[in-house]
Symmetry: C2
Subunit: 348 residues, 2 copies
DNA sequence: GCGCTCTACTAGCGCGCTCTAGTAGTCGCG
DNA sequence: CGCGACTACTAGAGCGCGCTAGTAGAGCGC
């Protein structure tokens, strides 16, 4: 790369972005007036407003959010931490934007990834002056979360942190799980296996609820849990394990989430099993993957739009100082029977 | 929600975040010195540095990036526009972070989604003072892109915009496609169908290259293209169409990307076909979905880390004023033969 | 003509930081 | 002892905006 970087920098081929002062000068009014107009505050005549907007348009003026943040104490920015690979997070993000906009907040996204841990993602949001954080299925330790929540309002989505003083919005996992097991039992299943979600969001609750539901149906001795996590890989892994011992196949499999169910399905389809004739499969989330027509996965719907909306409202409410105690919002999930479940083999 | 919002706001239960002045006061030095220390500039003694860092730690001080942006002309922020649902974008984002960090840039993510179009996503990035934009597989019109590129350095990933003066980093689609067809022909295939990628990134090139490669092998009369796009749904759709007329099945299917291939696979697996015995399938991208062990998809690797790295470097180079003409970086793709391709039926 | 209110606008400080142009103090050298 | 060079530090302007406290002028009643 060339050596004349500094000279080139000074040349600044591109004009710096126009400021409020430029707009004001062009219209022939004060900066303050332009500010009023852009904040949509009363105190400017209709004609002036129009002229300001037109001048701004012509100059390509765009309010500088750094300066806005600095000037008002409120930055009006919510920070969202997500895992880019998680499709359910994608659904949540899509639900967050419109509500935030409605309430006048801007959204900043920061991704956690294998090469970028959650702390780093959160750090980035903090230094960008977010007023509050929304954490999508965080895997942080409770201690770290508690510490974070002391500094800044935090809402956690899709995960419970009992004992930590943060707002949280999540699904009543147990209810959904109970409906899954009820549905399967009703169809005639007894050998219902659960693929565990490891450290994933909601896994503990789902596993516990699975055991409880099985016991309630007098199927305590049929309880069978395979280790896994929230990835396709783990579903496939579980399928491989099961197919290695065909004598001992369950008649139904309840995966800890849709991705896991999908991995499982891919594997058994490929192995030539018929779903649901040979085996029923249920997921959890109803991510957009699940209701693709060719998958048509029986699952439990966690309404992401509603979850996102509530989370935004909860955190905004907290920001406006209307509440200081933590709040836990629990949404009812909705069981969705689709094409991957049916009567067990030999009873169809 | 209660009516005393403003009063509550004034009460400010949480202390406002500490500033540089607080740190300076605590150490007993000037703000400027603290600034030096945090920017890691020479001019402060080792002991002072340590004391500053310690004081900052104790106060929980964190530089305010809004103020930083405002004060230096350089914001040191790159804006990334992505589609949250796209797994290949997730791969790219993961590749972007480390390089940006190495070069001292911060990353701001903004998502396009069905409810939030690309213009809006870009607007958000612009008002957050990004110095440059990285657009992942944008679907903008060339005109809009050109207009954008006049205001701010832009690099487009995974897509060509011939005639528009922007930097771009993409794969030599044609090369990859040629290798796909070569591979299939070598295995003995002649009836190779292509599922089109619609308006998706790279689709035009892939379709054209498919036709060209088929002709090169003297298979012009076997060319067959089914409409589709870059989603699982479209792959499944194509599969449904094909299976409706079993007499007329191709022996191999080349999907426009991995997601499409996956949807296709799911459908044909489920229908009881054996892959690759009955049908070979090839994708494009080598997204992390493809190399899941149970999918084991033959595909074309577009190295996302490398693409991400180059894109960041290209845009940073442009920012430092070392170049003003647009640059197009074309990466060689790498064909990856995996388990979804084999000899055509009747020749195995 | 006076005070009053109301609309339409302006002056100017301050948000938390960066950065230029400085000032002390120390050291080495002729 | 004076001078330059270097280290360690500081003063203060200014980045683009929001916002408070103001003003100028019009309209109105008495």
């Amino acid at each position: 790369m060339s050596e004349d970087g500094s000279r080139a920098g000074e040349r600044r081929p591109r004009r710096a972005r126009p400021t409020m002062a430029d707009v004001a000068a062009k219209v022939g009014v004060s900066r303050a007036l332009v500010s009023l107009v852009f904040r949509n505050e009363p105190g400017a005549s209709k004609e002036t407003r129009d002229r300001v907007f037109q001048a701004a348009e012509e100059l390509g003026y765009r309010p500088d959010s750094a300066a806005q943040m600095l000037a008002r104490s409120r930055s009006k920015v919510l920070g969202v931490m997500l895992t880019v690979r998680n499709p359910f997070h994608a659904d949540l993000v899509e639900g967050i934007y419109p509500v935030a906009e409605e309430l006048g907040y801007d959204i900043l996204l920061s991704a956690a990834a294998p090469t970028r841990d959650e702390r780093k993602a959160v750090e980035a949001l903090l230094s960008h002056r977010c007023e509050a954080l929304m954490l999508l299925g965080p895997k942080l330790e409770s201690r770290d979360l508690a510490q974070l929540a002391e500094r800044i309002p935090v809402v956690v989505l899709g995960r419970r942190f009992p004992g930590v003083e943060v707002d949280s919005v999540h699904t009543a996992e147990a209810k959904g799980v109970r409906q899954v097991i009820d549905h399967l039992v009703e169809l005639g299943h007894a050998d219902i296996l659960h693929i565990d979600g490891g450290r994933g969001a909601g896994s503990v609750e789902r596993r516990r609820a699975y055991r409880a539901a099985m016991r309630r149906h007098g199927l305590a001795d049929r309880i069978r849990v395979l280790p896994g996590d929230h990835t396709e890989e783990s579903g496939a892994q579980a399928a491989a394990t099961l197919l290695a011992d065909r004598e001992n196949l369950p008649t139904a499999v309840f995966a800890s989430n849709d991705r896991c169910a999908l991995g499982f399905l891919d594997f058994v389809w490929r192995a030539g099993l018929q779903v649901p004739d040979d085996l029923s499969v249920v997921g959890f989330d109803d991510s957009h993957l699940a209701h693709l027509s060719h998958i048509d996965l029986t699952t439990v719907r966690q309404d992401p739009d509603r979850q996102a909306e509530l989370a935004v409202r909860v955190v905004v409410e907290r920001l406006s100082g209307e509440r200081s105690e933590a709040r836990e919002l629990v949404l009812d999930p909705k069981f969705v029977a689709r094409g991957t479940t049916g009567p067990p083999p030999g009873r169809g």
